[in-house]
């Protein structure tokens, strides 16, 4: 039972990490795009 709970907790924690990875990538891409726009003009 405790192993199952640990696995579920691990999965939930990894899901949050995956969402954070995607959000960070979007933010970095946005930052790079904005830097290109701002400094390119």
């Amino acid at each position: 039972m405790s192993d199952g709970r640990a696995t579920r907790d691990g999965d939930a924690s990894m899901t949050r990490t995956y969402v954070l990875v995607v959000l960070l990538e979007i933010l970095v891409l946005l930052g790079l795009w904005l830097a290109g726009r701002y400094f390119g003009i």
């Binding site: 995956y18 990875v21 995607v22 990538e25 970095v28 290109g36 400094f39 390119g40």
Partner: protein, 567 residues
């Protein structure tokens, strides 16, 4: 190089050898030697994954690209974070639960011995040659820029790496990787600080980036879709995704890193280190190159960054023409400096119309500087006969040795050593693992003792290490061959990924389907590579699709039921 810098490089080497050799605990059995008894924490494994991928070529080549083309190369990594999520959900749990030493071992559990042998052999050929390149590229550049003996430089990078990898196994590789990536990041940050301080004597950081932006170097994203263009948002996101899936999911030099993690959860978390940090780190390295460009707006750069080639011209019949060109180049650089200062001053005053005019004058002056450099390259090609000449990889090392202060030069040279050593150590370790586990223990001597396999593993590490050093010394005369070797990797990476898609993604796939799918995939990629001018990042997509389709069609024609997936 100053004695203080020599001392720093020497201290770095002693520290790494000492640290690597003391990490032999638990390496007296083969599982400890190759997999650290699956006991390492996620953060150490994650940093080791990054260190293995980040070679010295990344430091000198990527800063050179930033200098010449700007930030656009960062797009190459756009597929990486998504690839890490996919791998963390798929291959990490499969490999861990299968209790394998190598990715290719899993292919026999799932398919058959010949598919495993083919995949392992492809890996051995590619990695053996690339390991030599990883050592040779920085050794050639450092020996030219610093006037060092090439063989001695190869030995200084290669032999300590062989020593601690041979005796310490994967524990030594991982824990030295952690230190080495810290040295690399410290070196890069030191270079950025020196650049910012140097530039700020002339213009502010914002104006500096505007000057870089005026030349297009701050443009990171290109949404234009063309299969022939190598670095676009689409090739990086889609082609790069498949390349990263192949590299991190099927290449033993990476798979072995996360097989050492103490659990599936920690293996998954280790991949997230790269998912979070890789793009920002690459952006920092590229930005360093962009700042070197701005730095050289206010200093006079060498007309050609490769001093050996420059000496050859000075001794040739073109020496006079080259001297005249140097005078013209210095005049153009001076005019560009004046124009850059005028553009920055106009922008600082908020005078938009004057800023625009001044920027146009700056761009015209920059074009004249580039023309002079192109003429110099033309003279060089005539004088040396080297039609492939490019000195982009020499830009950053030249900046380091001529413009960084005493002490930081040593740190930066140590960082280049660290990057080369961490990447080659991971490769040597994985070459030995695949040689022993997939070839020797499987086909040559199947029933020896653990102690015997451990001894053979250490010998294999040493032999591969010496082979890599020999390739590195001779690679100086094999310029175009290095390119062929690198291209060869992209010919089979996607196909190898296709086999793992069949293995993990489907229950119906059979050994016959996987084996012939892999062969057909490589042939298809070869046809695309030699018959079209499609960019190499797309080869991986072609490989995966052909292997999966051919493999599934053949599998469905097989009467026998597919073996059960080993999990």
């Amino acid at each position: 190089m100053h004695i203080v810098d020599w001392a720093i490089v020497g201290l770095y080497l002693v520290w790494i050898i000492y640290d690597g050799l003391k990490r032999t605990k638990g390496s007296d059995r083969i599982e400890g030697y190759f997999l650290a008894n699956r006991s390492l924490p996620w953060w150490a494994v994650g940093l080791s994954v990054m260190a293995t991928q980040l070679s010295a070529i990344t430091i000198v080549g990527t800063t050179g690209q930033g200098y010449a083309d700007g930030m656009s190369f960062v797009q190459f990594y756009f597929g990486l974070p998504i690839a890490m999520i996919i791998l963390s959900l798929t291959v990490v749990p499969f490999f861990h639960r299968a209790k394998v030493y190598t990715a290719y071992e899993y292919l026999e559990k799932r398919f058959d011995a010949k598919t495993r042998a083919l995949a392992a052999s492809l890996f051995l050929v590619l990695r053996a040659l690339s390991c030599g390149t990883i050592i040779s590229a920085p050794a050639i550049i450092l020996s030219i820029v610093l006037g060092w003996n090439l063989t001695a430089t190869v030995a200084a990078i290669g032999l300590p790496t062989v020593l601690y990898t041979m005796f310490g196994g994967v524990q030594a590789v991982t824990w030295t990787d952690v230190k080495q990536i810290a040295v690399v990041i410290a070196g890069m940050l030191a270079a950025v600080v020196v650049l910012v301080v140097g530039i700020s004597h002339h213009v502010g950081v914002s104006e500096a980036l505007h000057l870089a932006g005026a030349t297009g170097r701050m443009q990171s994203l290109d949404f234009h879709f063309n299969l022939r263009d190598t670095y676009t948002f689409w090739s990086g996101t889609i082609g790069g995704l498949f390349l990263m899936l192949s590299y991190f999911g099927c290449d033993q030099s990476q798979v072995q890193r996360y097989l050492t993690a103490k659990s599936v959860q920690e293996g998954r978390e280790s991949l997230m280190v790269s998912a979070f940090a890789k793009i920002p780190l690459q952006a920092l390295v590229l930005l360093t190159g962009v700042l070197v460009f701005v730095f050289y707006l206010f200093q006079t750069p060498p007309l050609l960054f490769n001093p050996v080639h420059e000496d050859q011209i000075r001794r040739s019949a073109q020496a006079g023409a080259y001297h005249d060109l140097e005078t013209e180049f210095a005049r153009n650089v001076s005019a560009r400096r004046t124009a850059a200062l005028a553009a920055a001053a106009a922008r600082d005053r908020g005078d938009a119309a004057r800023a625009h005019d001044a920027e146009q004058a700056f761009l015209a002056a920059d074009a004249r500087v580039r023309t002079a450099r192109q003429q110099a390259v033309g003279i060089l090609k005539q004088a040396t006969g080297d039609q492939e000449y490019t000195d982009v990889n020499y830009v950053f090392p030249t900046f380091v040795v001529t413009s960084m202060p005493i002490g930081l030069v040593g740190l930066m040279i140590a960082a280049i050593f660290a990057a080369a050593m961490s990447a080659s150590a991971g490769e040597l370790n994985s070459l030995a693992t695949t040689s022993v586990i997939d070839i020797y223990r499987r086909h040559v001597n199947t029933s020896a003792s653990d102690r015997h396999y451990l001894l053979v593993s250490k010998l294999a590490t040493g032999v591969w290490g010496l082979f890599a050093c020999v390739v590195a010394v001779y690679a100086v005369n094999l310029g175009s061959l290095i390119e062929v070797v690198n291209k060869f990797g992209s010919y089979f990476y996607g196909s190898l990924l296709g086999v793992f898609v069949l293995a993990i993604g489907t229950k119906r796939a059979t050994g016959r389907g996987a084996f012939w799918g892999l062969i057909m995939g490589m042939l298809a990629v070869g046809a695309v590579g030699f018959g079209t001018d499609v960019s190499y990042l797309w080869y991986n997509v072609v490989g995966v699709v052909v292997v999966t389709v051919v493999g599934m069609v053949l599998s469905y024609t097989d009467r026998a039921p597919a073996p059960t997936a080993a999990t």
